[in-house]
């Protein structure tokens, strides 16, 4: 950019200098990107190195199981898959209720590798899918930020994203969840949107729809895209930035994107019918109206235009009112106003805790605390405001998008911890911009004041001082311009007239920055970056790499491994009948089906609240009533997780109040106050009799007193209330080494009849009548 400005004699040398430096910069940027990709991949391998190559947590086990099915049976079987091993006796149509993006991605990778005769197991592919896609995501961040603020900012943002703890927490090796690929899809869709906006190319617009389709396949969070982009379009229109590029960026996305989204079975007609998508259509209409107005304005004289405006406004208002009235009536007729529960709890953070305990019970749906911001994005939290300011100087279409993105995602992350993940890329992009701009300013003022350079002409200095990033950016821009001349023309003009005078003005201003303070600030910035890296590595290594199915603890005599979950699942897998039904709280459903290969009653998919409430009711009921519920569901084994012996806090006793709440939500005879003593949840001698007699208490603490003689629960830090009791309807069939999983078998009915001689009424009920009762008496079947 500086070349045309310099004197005629200087042109050739400067030009070659520039070309060389740009080539060098290009190669350098390429290698930096490669290294960023390697870093993004390898920082996520702590879990494999410290633990093992294994699938983590709960949901990834389901995805893994689906991928196994896909790899074994092929895509058509997959779409038609009715899974009878879960939600017994209802089953679940997996093909129609799952976001298939992740599964199809991993399945394709596996198929590709195997057709090249690289015999990796499905599990290995699944474990490493997330790290691979984080490398892709950091490259996509580079592309997006480059579109907004140039290569330097792009590289910085990519490096920041590669190791941002919030994203690491969802994408370590083994964390095979939708978010792993969805974040890449999200950023890439945004990149293509910005790219289309900058170039006005239909090619990118089409790519954008396809990327959006991939995002819809991957994650329910796609609604964020389909609301954020319309908001940005609206913002552009309101601020008078309407252009044909905006139209090309948006209209094809809505049309193609909605059509494609409707192809995904889990979305289907939701793509046009639910309120989450409403904004996009509204903006689509507004955009057309605006485009039409601009068109009319172009062909009419100003006077005629005024007349036309009055006409159209009066007619248009009437039509609009009518349409809106119809829409409002339609939406209002639906109980949730056309919104899904999770979306509603985003708009109204108190909604879930009031109406849907099942959503509120998930810890990742809780609002985050302040420390979690610091934990998850660390120093980025301080850089974000600076980045936002940098986005405003100058404000372009692209940078206004970033500002909008960060503003909305800050709000969403404040409502749900889980959405911190959407916030993290925005934070990385703005911080990358901030850091890069700061470096730019400091290095430029240092260079400018260094004696050797200061003696040069101002033009020279301006040139040398402009960061590689910017220089490169401009060259690339001009190359692009030459490629897509027609569409880029306006852009180029903008560019050329903008930076030049500005750069001069800036330089003048920057001269005021003293040398020593620039150096110190630079050092401080580097220190800040180093702190961030240290924190990220620590977070990746210590905080987020535990697979949660294997626990370790360090004591004076070395590392101790608690592998109880897999012990129990392996036992179930090999020593029970293949069609036996296992009941447990829904947290363990996915793992039971995947690792133990046994049919479960409820699982983490939580689609049927009543079913979950039934299990919750059973767990909260006394033994006999629980036996009846379980027996009516054909359950043979009941699995409970108990941490009292080794101090594992997330066990079933600690989750028990949620079972009571969810159970009580459907079956009102379960009342939460019955389980609380003066509003306090306790299991010691002060606990209520209802609590001490419920099934969960009994199954957890059965014969616990014999371990230490006192029955001291190490999680609750108290002795339990009822120590000696017998089970009449259940028998212990397996308890793992550290007692973390206990499996009980339902005793056969004849024992029940014998034990029941005192109560003739219930005794006489046969299996069929019992089944009928449980079927008909949904409201209160156990009374």
């Amino acid at each position: 950019m500086a070349a045309p400005e310099s004197s005629a004699a200087a042109v050739p040398t400067l030009y070659t200098n520039n070309a060389l430096r740009n080539a060098f910069g290009g190669v350098l940027a390429f290698f930096i990107l490669l290294l960023i990709g390697v870093m993004a991949f390898s920082i996520r391998l702590f879990s494999v190195i410290k633990y093992e190559s294994v699938i983590h947590e709960f949901d990834p086990y389901f995805n893994y199981r689906v991928t196994q099915f896909l790899a074994k049976n092929g895509i058509y079987e997959f779409w038609n898959w009715f899974d009878d091993r879960t939600w017994y006796p209802l089953g679940r149509v997996i093909g129609g209720t799952v976001y298939p993006g992740l599964t199809l991605t991993a399945g394709t990778i596996w198929w590709l590798l195997n057709s090249l005769n690289i015999p990796l197991s499905v599990e290995t592919v699944c474990v490493f899918t997330a790290p691979i896609f984080s490398a892709f995501a950091s490259w996509a961040t580079y592309l997006l930020t480059k579109e907004v603020k140039g290569t330097g900012a792009g590289l910085t943002a990519a490096a920041l994203l590669a190791m941002v703890p919030s994203y690491i927490s969802r994408s370590v090796a083994g964390s095979y969840d939708n978010e792993a690929v969805a974040i890449f899809a999200l950023i890439f869709t945004f990149y293509l949107y910005i790219k289309t906006l900058n170039t006005g190319s239909l090619f990118y617009a089409t790519l954008n729809s396809i990327a959006y389709f991939y995002m819809v396949c991957s994650w329910g969070g796609y609604t964020f895209i389909i609301n954020l982009i319309p908001m940005h379009v609206l913002l552009c229109i309101v601020t008078g930035r309407f252009s044909s590029r905006l139209y090309i960026a948006y209209a094809p996305l809505v049309v193609l994107g909605t059509l494609l989204a409707a192809l995904v079975p889990v979305v289907g007609f939701n793509a046009v019918m639910t309120s989450e998508h409403f904004a996009s259509f509204l903006v689509f209409i507004i955009l057309h109206v605006v485009a039409f107005v601009y068109y009319i304005k172009g062909i009419l004289t100003p006077k005629m235009f005024k007349v036309a405006v009055t006409l159209v406004v009066s007619v248009g208002l009437a039509v609009c009112c009518a349409v809106i009235a119809v829409l409002v009536a339609l939406v209002a007729s639906s109980p949730t106003k056309g919104w899904s529960g999770r979306s509603l709890s985003l708009l109204d953070p108190t909604y879930a805790s009031k109406y849907i305990p099942i959503i509120a019970s998930v810890s990742e749906h809780q609002p985050p605390t302040w420390p979690s911001y610091f934990m998850d994005i660390n120093v980025l939290a301080f850089l974000v405001p600076a980045g936002i300011i940098a986005c405003f100087s100058p404000l372009s279409d692209a940078s206004s998008f970033v500002v909008l993105y960060i503003a909305t995602s800050v709000y969403f992350s404040g409502v749900m911890v889980r959405l911190m993940l959407v916030f993290a890329p925005a934070a990385c992009i703005t911080s990358g911009i901030a850091l890069s701009q700061a470096f730019d300013v400091f290095t430029r003022s240092i260079k400018f004041q260094l004696p050797g350079i200061a003696s040069n002409t101002e033009v020279d200095a301006a040139e040398t001082s402009s960061s590689t990033a910017e220089a490169q950016n401009d060259v690339e821009k001009s190359e692009e311009t030459s490629k897509n001349r027609p569409s880029k023309k306006s852009k180029k003009k903008e560019k050329e007239e903008k930076p030049l005078p500005k750069a001069k003005a800036e330089k003048k201003r920057l001269l005021a920055l003293p040398l020593d303070s620039s150096v110190i600030s630079l050092l401080l910035l580097i220190l800040l970056g180093a702190l961030y890296v240290v924190h990220c590595v620590w977070a990746a290594a210590e905080a987020y790499s535990a697979p949660s199915i294997v626990l370790t603890s360090r004591s004076h005599d070395g590392l101790h491994v608690f592998d109880d979950f897999r012990e129990a699942y392996a036992w179930l897998r090999h020593n029970t009948d293949v069609d036996d039904k296992v009941a447990s709280w829904w947290d363990y459903g996915y793992q039971t089906t995947a690792m133990a290969n046994r049919t479960v009653i409820v699982d983490n998919n939580t689609w049927n609240n009543t079913h979950i409430a039934t299990v919750g009711t059973a767990m909260s009921s006394p033994e006999k009533a629980a036996w009846e519920i379980f027996h009516s569901l054909d359950v043979k084994y009941v699995l409970v997780v108990f941490g009292g012996l080794v101090g594992y806090p997330s066990d079933d006793i600690n989750k028990f109040l949620w079972m009571v709440r969810i159970g009580g939500g459907v079956f009102p005879h379960i009342k939460e106050p019955d389980y609380l003593r003066d509003g306090q949840y306790r299991i010691d001698s002060q606990a209520t009799p209802t609590m001490l007699n419920c099934l969960m208490y009994k199954l957890s603490y059965y014969r616990f007193v014999e371990t230490d003689g006192k029955a001291f629960d190490r999680v609750r830090q108290t002795e339990i209330g009822k120590k000696y009791f017998k089970l009449t309807h259940f028998e212990e069939v397996f308890t793992t080494h550290h007692w973390m999983v206990r499996i009980y078998k339902l005793k056969p009915p004849k024992n029940r009849i014998r034990g029941k001689t005192k109560k003739p009424k219930t005794k006489t009920s046969t299996t069929s009548s019992r089944a009928k009762r449980s079927g008909t008496g949904k409201k209160n079947p156990w009374h």
Binding site: N117, A570, E706
Partner: protein
Amino acid sequence: MEVPIRATGLLGFTFFSLLFFVCTSSPLHSLFISNAERRIDATSHIVKVYLTLKVENAGSTPTSEVLLAFPPTQVDHLATVEVLVTKGKRKKTTLVRLDVKPTELPDAPDGAKYFTIFLANPLNSGESTTLEVLYLFTHSLEPFPAEIGQSESQLVHYRDSALILSPYHIKQQTSFIKTPSRKVESFTRVEPTNHAGTEIKYGPYEDRPPYSFSPILIHFENNSPFPVVEELVREVEISHWGNLQVTEQYTLVHGGARHKGVFSRVDFQSRPTLSGASSLRHLLARLPPRVHSVYYRDEIGNISSSHLRTDSRKSELEIEPRYPLFGGWKATFVIGYGLPLQDFLFESSDDRRYLNFTFGCPLLETVVDKLTVKVVLPEGSKDPSAVVPFPVDQHLETKYSYLDVVGRTVVVMEKKNLVPVQNSHFQVYYTFKPIFMLAEPLMLASAFFLFFVACVAYLHIDLSIRK
């Protein structure tokens, strides 16, 4: 390559069969057994029978074959038969192993099955020789009661004959049955019978005619676990880059009395001797020395409870299943390890290469119901042939591994009912040209080369429609 045979250490099989010696080439009656002593070791779940026979030739023609006879019920459980003969005099005795082959005789009474022992030197008229026979029975201790609770001890039935089944006349014979503990619930008396300590003695019996049989039933306590590998697939993959990768897939079951009712961890942990006495808590695998990259896992991940001890002579891998195995409980797992290739791969005189590796299961005291050994030869090897010291089913397969184009030849050998004593070595011969080792690196290199060429070409070609 024959493993040196130590008289006691090697053989271990079980059940009782009766042995008889016959010369098929001469009338059966020309041979007789002047003295027979049988020691049956029922302390573990593999019943080992040591039989010492003194055979005399009373006929006029020399004979070189002696027959052993087994009742048909025992033959099904018979895992191995080995015969040794003492050579040399006094202190310089050595043991020589003799060939034994199953034989069909047309006039066998009651379906008795025979094994023929081929003597090294024909037995001349009037001469006598002493044969040491070892045979092992699997699945011959029948738990009774068949289901026990956690705190009960495991009782088993053992069936045999007090008299040794033989097609020859036996002048004098004695049988000893060793039980693991003094607790013997009952045993059949065939006078003279004597029970002292952990040993039951039947005999001596004098002058019994051929095919004498006297069934006995012993009911005693045997609290040793019964580890049975229902199926074991061993895959040995040869890489000429210097590594031998062994992968073993086990389906393990506790073959003892089935577990019934409750499993209480508190009892199991606090009273380990009384509760679950017969449960299978750990297993020991003896691996070759210089083993590396050992792993022990199952389909849901690594199993952390294992220890590896290595020294220069052997490696021992102590593994615990994820959960203690009670009777009837199952577990599956995989053990894998790498070995330096030069310890096992040699070149034969005719320019071929051969792999020399153990055939059986490395787990000690374990019965393998079905064993499949797969030797994966490197890509490009030709003319594979296997040499195994006992009869096995063989066939060839093709396997595609990392970046293979034509696939690797796999020599598959299958054998049923195997005991650790059969961990003898087998050889697989094949020809292989070292140039094939370079095939895959070259292929990768050329693929990358082509990729870069394509990139260069793409960057230099202007594909735009408009100039």
